[in-house]
Amino acid sequence: MQNKDKDQKSRLKLFKTILFKDIKSEIRQINDLFSIFLFDILSVFIFSSVYNFSAEGQTMPLEIFVIEVWLIIFFTLIYLMSKLFVKEKESGTLGGLISAPISGNIIIFSKIFYCFILLSFVELILFLFSVFLSAPSIENLSFTQLLVFIVIGVLLPTLDLSICGSLVSAFSMYVKNKSFVLPILLFPLILPITTPIISLNIKILEGILIVDLFYEIIFLVAHIILMISILTLLSQTLLYD
């Protein structure tokens, strides 16, 4: 029992070691992150300007606002994917990770969590700017509704996208034409969850009760379980050529 506890603690420490290394590396290369923010803010600006021009100043409907934000998030994910396994492979440091006495699953889970943190951070900036620039017609949300929106409407889909992103990044790291392969592999994986994510967001922002979001939540959770299972089962094969 004690050995099991010790083993769990050691796994957690290794997970934290890889995660903190990635975050530290990212902070040292802050320009990369800035360029992602710039892409997001410019996209929101262009979207909002075009809408305002064509709709002659009408308030942006909720549906268009949600689609705008998630479309930008999907494209941002393509940038972020190249920061996971692809970056480790290209810089040669993947060898250092796989030659260490740690399980492949620890490496994979630390990358998923790293992608989740980056994507959440990008989403925070994106939502703030898009609410300000697009000015959608959102009813006043209570604190509970806001919390439900953040946890179920944003963080749950972000976790799913992070898992899909890590899977695609791991799949394509040994491929030669990565910039072509990354989006080609990603879109079929995230296509089934696009509609539930958008529907979930619209319903929560319209103030619909959580009980009525059952099918979307179940679908997202099932997708997360499926993707995690694929990653865990293939971890050894994916990390070694």
Binding site: S10, L14, T17, S25, G96, S99, A100, S103, Y240
Partner: protein, 237 residues
Amino acid sequence: MIESKKELINCVNVSKQYGYFFALKNISFKTKENTIIGLAGANGAGKTTLIKILCGLITPTLGKIMIKGMDYENHSNILKKKIGISTDESFLYEELTIFENLKFYDNLHQNFDKNSIKRKIDQFAKKFNLTDWINEPVENLSHGMKQKVELIRVFMHQPSILFLDEPFSGLDFNTTKLLIDSLNELRDKENISIILTTHKTEILAQICDEIIVLKRGKINKSLTKEEYKEIQIESYF
């Protein structure tokens, strides 16, 4: 009484195929513990592929590798704790400092004691003349200095088998001498086994107990230290 050395590596019919190209074909050899084995050969002979297979970084298409009676399929973590690897690719993170890189890799070998890590890094930095550079990002270092950091990374977790791919490339005369002395010391005093590749044939004679010459993915010749001194090794490349 002479103590016979135990078997270290048993490589049986190992082949590695990339598409239609065979990087290695039916490689079989055995080595003993506590020896320095040199892999020699011309460019493209398969030295790096063989060393990467031996240290578990890539899997062979065919054949089996046993290290101390264990294979990577069933005893991956036990073997990885015992081995230290330096390949043609640098495992260092360019944007992190020397200290952060070395601490990271020692953490991966499950040493989380900050004091012991700092003490070890200080000792190695002093030995390899890197004390003044310890908080410098790796991207600011010269090729030779990066090579020194790579070697410290390999030595840090005190492995019992070292796999070194071209460890002498980019090193100045003094560091080359220091590395040769260190490798000899590791074998003689700490019973560490070393498998290395190098283009510098004069170094092979100085440190290797056995030399395996590869040619187009096959073993062309196996030589002992004594045999090696009497021949022109380039004729087997």
